[in-house]
Symmetry: D2
Amino acid sequence: MNDDREPIRDVAHLGRVELLTPEPERSLWYFHDLLGMEAVHREGASVYLRGYGDYAASTLKLTEAAKPGVACVHWRAVSPQALERRAAAIAATGLGIGWSNGDFGLGPAYRFRDPDGHVMEIYYEESRYEAPAPLRSTLKNLPQKFTGRGAAVRRLDHLALLAADVPTNRAFAEETLGFQLREQVRYDNGAVEIGSWLSPTTVHHQVAYVVDARGGHGRLHHLSMWVDDKSDVLRAADVLRENGIFIEAGPAKHNNSQGFYLYSYEPGGNRVEVYSGSFLVFAPNWQPVVWNEAERGTGVYWGGALPESFIEYATPDIERPAERRAVPVVDPR
Amino acid sequence: MNDDREPIRDVAHLGRVELLTPEPERSLWYFHDLLGMEAVHREGASVYLRGYGDYAASTLKLTEAAKPGVACVHWRAVSPQALERRAAAIAATGLGIGWSNGDFGLGPAYRFRDPDGHVMEIYYEESRYEAPAPLRSTLKNLPQKFTGRGAAVRRLDHLALLAADVPTNRAFAEETLGFQLREQVRYDNGAVEIGSWLSPTTVHHQVAYVVDARGGHGRLHHLSMWVDDKSDVLRAADVLRENGIFIEAGPAKHNNSQGFYLYSYEPGGNRVEVYSGSFLVFAPNWQPVVWNEAERGTGVYWGGALPESFIEYATPDIERPAERRAVPVVDPR
Amino acid sequence: MNDDREPIRDVAHLGRVELLTPEPERSLWYFHDLLGMEAVHREGASVYLRGYGDYAASTLKLTEAAKPGVACVHWRAVSPQALERRAAAIAATGLGIGWSNGDFGLGPAYRFRDPDGHVMEIYYEESRYEAPAPLRSTLKNLPQKFTGRGAAVRRLDHLALLAADVPTNRAFAEETLGFQLREQVRYDNGAVEIGSWLSPTTVHHQVAYVVDARGGHGRLHHLSMWVDDKSDVLRAADVLRENGIFIEAGPAKHNNSQGFYLYSYEPGGNRVEVYSGSFLVFAPNWQPVVWNEAERGTGVYWGGALPESFIEYATPDIERPAERRAVPVVDPR
Amino acid sequence: MNDDREPIRDVAHLGRVELLTPEPERSLWYFHDLLGMEAVHREGASVYLRGYGDYAASTLKLTEAAKPGVACVHWRAVSPQALERRAAAIAATGLGIGWSNGDFGLGPAYRFRDPDGHVMEIYYEESRYEAPAPLRSTLKNLPQKFTGRGAAVRRLDHLALLAADVPTNRAFAEETLGFQLREQVRYDNGAVEIGSWLSPTTVHHQVAYVVDARGGHGRLHHLSMWVDDKSDVLRAADVLRENGIFIEAGPAKHNNSQGFYLYSYEPGGNRVEVYSGSFLVFAPNWQPVVWNEAERGTGVYWGGALPESFIEYATPDIERPAERRAVPVVDPR
């Protein structure tokens, strides 16, 4: 912000992500048995899940579809007024779709697309989770019992989206949604914006936009679930490996975000991260950290590199057009 | 908020705490050598310190004084306008002291007292830390090298204050400062408010007000520094114990806040916590979790109890008046 | 060893413990669901269990009985010849019971009592565990899949026995069984041997003899199961607490043994420890570490104390005779 | 053992390793400042170091030399008689060099070469470490204060040696030294023994012999220092990276040994591992786990691969002869 306007802070946090899967039962097995989430509701072709520490009824919606990918990204507003303001601002950009009555557990929502085409919603009203007796915790401030099943992820943390044009989507997230830009990767002396990490809250990033190496639109790089300690990420790797899940990368530490990551593919094909570490951003006037080619390196802090698939693969999967093979690519976190 | 006003969100976070110590050199040894903080500035009777992950130049000011305690609690506003609004609101309560030119690294600040008498300031401008060459990190997004010295605390997290009258101070923090109430301990069917935990940010609490069992004013229960993993807290206990520091309680897990705590006394007498775990609060309409006598129990989740000193001792230390010996007491976190 | 004889090293390790429980189904739920062990065999009133890292078919036998306690402690010899030598040496003490054909998974065993009356066996032949397909690990050197269920204990570590007369039992373990004495607690200028910790292997101790404050015989203080990291012990505490299990002490760190402990009571009443940390002893001429009253303190390294029950309760539970109320007591690890 | 002889168990453990370094001051900085070891003695061109948990006076000897590598591997015998027996057995193989008066802190030692030419010694007498006052621990059973400096490695764990002919060296370690074979990598339907991991104690391996891809002799692959928890290995990676040390691989988990590894090069050029996890082997009749090409894969359990340098580089470094470029290679752990 170069002027004296106050920052927009109308979005509270990432509220829910709807994933598409062509393998609904096996995807459910992955999220329920291996990541340890609870299934709280079924409706149509969808199952609604939650981490044991999520305060909302559901933060992950799994919907059967022909191809994997992200169907909708839901953001919670800080107040009814904030919801109205953001809906108006989005509508003014021409990206609005319109009001819906709200998905399971959610109140009225304003539906829209980001410039790249990812469908999103913003809502305010949300049902708090009320655990049934067998899932009640002995901790009054924990919405649900810690079952310890599988990786036992605590809560939804963030997601990374691919976009054909990063600057436009980043600017939309900053200016229209009011997110704070936390980090960027810029190549060619800053001329090419490869990726941007943004957040509406103190969590380092709740959305990343990274250039789609294949020139697609509306694609998902990964969804990320939080565990409290790095040791929980190591444990998750054992759980996934013992259950035949392909681990694409990690556990290891990114340099940008300082995230301690573990990437695997859920059986429907979507990349899912089990995540810890990173850092909270408290500064109201945070200066984005910008990494050039040399500073960025492989994106892995301790050494080594991310595999080629980390750059090339996203959901839904598409062919890489021959003419885009020279586009600079980067791993999105 | 029972009405339709939007919540006040003018304070960004706890910015700095000034501690008093009658043992300045030994207190510095504790924070520098054992907690692993850096000393970045000296001025008069004060030394300014920082955790390796604090983005600001300094988050802890140690000042020589006859008795230990907290001299000032500094809160950062989210914008210049927010600073003006909070200053006006505080002034309207009659608790204002006036504007100062700002302490080391800080811009103009509005000084005031909370109802119990703790001196506080609110400011907006703040110098970001620029590490000298030997302290530059290999991580561009880390303001300072991780030295790994001692407990290597990452950043300031919160503090707990005692107050003769909790409800009045809690209401001031909610209504005038705009903090969100996260948890409470209420006894006697809710009639007696023993403690309240509040925060201006997603961190579970950045200030707690707990009843002063001795009827004092302006006293400090503890200051808390963050480490990323629970294993870091265990390691800190070894570091403190090997260096002859008295550990009052922990490492263990509180039920309220879910904090993983380790309490020791720095040589000046102030209680200091090395802290991890807990949980972030994202809900804009968070419903405070209220614990009664039975639910609260000893305040320790896994079992056991906090020692008597945890209730009785605070800085500066005072005698317990005979007539207050029947007042309900609680351990403040 | 003050002479030039070579140390006896005929026992390889603690092989199996048979626990008695008046609540067999609930005890099984504790060990299977909460500690994450597998049940591999049922025979008569017994269920045989194992940790995922135990190489043997079973390391824990749960047998229904009127009262809890330890029924048998099985030690594995290093060779057939070593078994013969130990059987002969034990027989020579008059404590032998005789040869048995061996329990499930074990070859011929020589049965005996320690001087306090605990029944023990020594055997050499043992079936290695061959996991059925669903429990096969993706690690060829892991005998069984890491399921991650509950606390997911890895293997049997040690047990602590009470004895009316510690020196006699300790001397039997040293001289007749050939265990190395690792640590002792001695009060009254060394005159009163309160407890001794011994091991036939590099594991710090595999058996402890601690004075029975109630003058009983053949009683069990606790059985201990290993997890690899201290973070696993913390996680186990959450699992136990969420499932309504009483946690008597910990997670915390003992001074003697340096063990990182978590003590709970399984539903049958036996005290069970989830354990990590401690240290390996490699020295062939290890000098026992002897703690006096002051050095020993509460037995807790970081501070605090073990509860009274830790001294008073063992299985089977008995009344404390009035005349023994002045006997020095110590917490056994 | 296919016959009925009892296993030889005359060696207690790996006692000391002497490393050569052309950069003695910087190597000392690495081991003292970054790994957190103490320097206890200087003699000639050597400095003697120790981990805080090593019971012996010194477990690492750093000696200035033109090239890096391993100068001597010291094994401790279990008794004076065991020392005599091993010396006689080694002498009978023709690999003996003769008796020495013993290095700093060690009694008389019998010096020899393994078949590949690595110099070794076996000794029995050893000085226990007596910490000077500033390094005395508050734990009576800890030989030295836990300083928490740098990675704070606890103790020497193992080393990996390259050999032109693995089977001969492995057989020498098994039959003449009496080590137990724990794991092997065998290619070509078992015909080619790529590497073998052996130990005289419960620690999974204290020496590995891996084929020297360059046909050299007497070379060192790596030296390994133990830390208690996997979280300590992660922390070590941050410490090394912040201090400009090249991390070759890890933190990650091997499949064979289950070791949680972190490999870096100390400034003298030797590869050093900070290590945790793995598992203890208690079985007196342990059946070696043998991995073929497919089972072995990259040697990394969770995914990914070790870098080419991990196969190619050892100390002292030599050229790879053209004629050996087709030799199967494997990463040695």
